[in-house]
Amino acid sequence: MATSPSYHGNYSDSELPTLNTVADYIADARTQLQDIVPGYRYDDRSMLTAMNIALLEARWLRADLFVYNLATKGQVQSFTAVDDTKVAIEASFRPAILNGIIGHALKRDQEDYQDARASSYLSMFTAGLTGRSLVGVAGGSPPSGRQQ
């Protein structure tokens, strides 16, 4: 018998704890980027930039996620600190935003195989927002014919 509490909300999912705040997104993005040791490779500023850009692109792909939100007057949120500020995104689309953050963070790398990973994460970002079939993560190993 389960004893730990679990969340189940109504149609207003602003309190759903999974990927609810800026810090949640950045922490999980760093986990997937294997950048969890302080003295981060991807510092807070660059992660916030990646997050803000991902949200702007999400607005372009899925305006309905933003324009009906009266709390933000239908505008896209923009963040300046990694804190507990809530990110007003419906629960179903939060993983897509996370993929977008990771994709934009990976884009700045100069490694060839990171380009493939960035592309795959950005594809997952787009697919997650548009409801198309999801693609797999690629680019985990260096391109063939190259030496590390």
Partner: protein, 216 residues
């Protein structure tokens, strides 16, 4: 089981069915589309009525009406205390305008057609409890059809959109006719107003009890 929780279950069922069918839809878009669908449903079916009481006073032709919920869209009719229809129109939406003034104060009852209001601040919209149990399937079809009609979405489907929208139009027609018949089976809600009653018959019909006879 309270009626409120019963109504909530119908809302949950409707939104749940729509969510399952429309893969990739956002709740925000679904709620907005549901509001638009309800607006079209009530506008074209005239099925949401409210009777509002007010007092007609001498030398005044216009009477603004305040419904309990929703928004007044058009006038269905006005009757006086004897249930006799009065000559009234609604050139300004929400205000009854009598064609002729009354010489004495008297109570009136205006029946108005209403529609949903407050698309963002109120969800579920404050519609009557009977709407979803009676017309929920038709409204669901309207939501699905209009959503599937949107181009470039994961749930776009022109063929199914036509199918669902035809079912929605059937539901609107059903609701309109049911309202006209006052939700009865095989009956006619409308009856001749008393001023149409013919007591003195002319034109070659019986002239019983008329003196002198008009037939010459």
């Amino acid at each position: 089981m309270s009626k409120t929780s019963e109504c909530d279950k119908y809302w949950q069922k409707l939104l749940g069915r729509a969510n399952v069918t429309l893969t990739g839809v956002s709740d925000a878009e679904l709620k907005v589309q549901l509001f638009d669908t309800l607006q079209q449903f009530f506008d074209e079916s005239n099925s949401w009525l409210e009777t509002i009481n007010f007092t007609a006073i001498p030398d005044s032709l216009d009477y603004p009406l305040m419904p309990l919920t929703g928004r007044v869209h058009r006038l269905y009719g006005v009757v006086d205390q004897n249930n006799v229809p009065q000559q009234a129109v609604m050139p300004v939406i929400g205000t009854v305008h009598f064609l002729y003034p009354y010489s004495n104060p008297q109570p009136m009852w205006a029946t108005v057609v209403k529609n949903v209001t407050d698309p963002f601040s109120c969800f579920p919209p404050g519609i009557p409890e009977w709407v979803l149990p009676v017309y929920g399937l038709g409204i669901l079809s309207g939501v699905l059809g209009n959503m599937m009609l949107q181009p470039g979405q994961s749930y776009s489907n022109q063929t199914l959109a036509s199918f669902h929208l035809s079912k929605f139009r059937d539901a609107i027609a059903h609701a309109r006719v049911a309202t006209m018949r006052a939700n009865t089976v095989g009956a006619q809600a409308w009856a001749y107003p008393q001023q149409f009653a013919v007591r003195g018959q002319r034109g070659g019909v019986s002239t019983y009890n008329v003196h002198p006879s008009t037939l010459r």
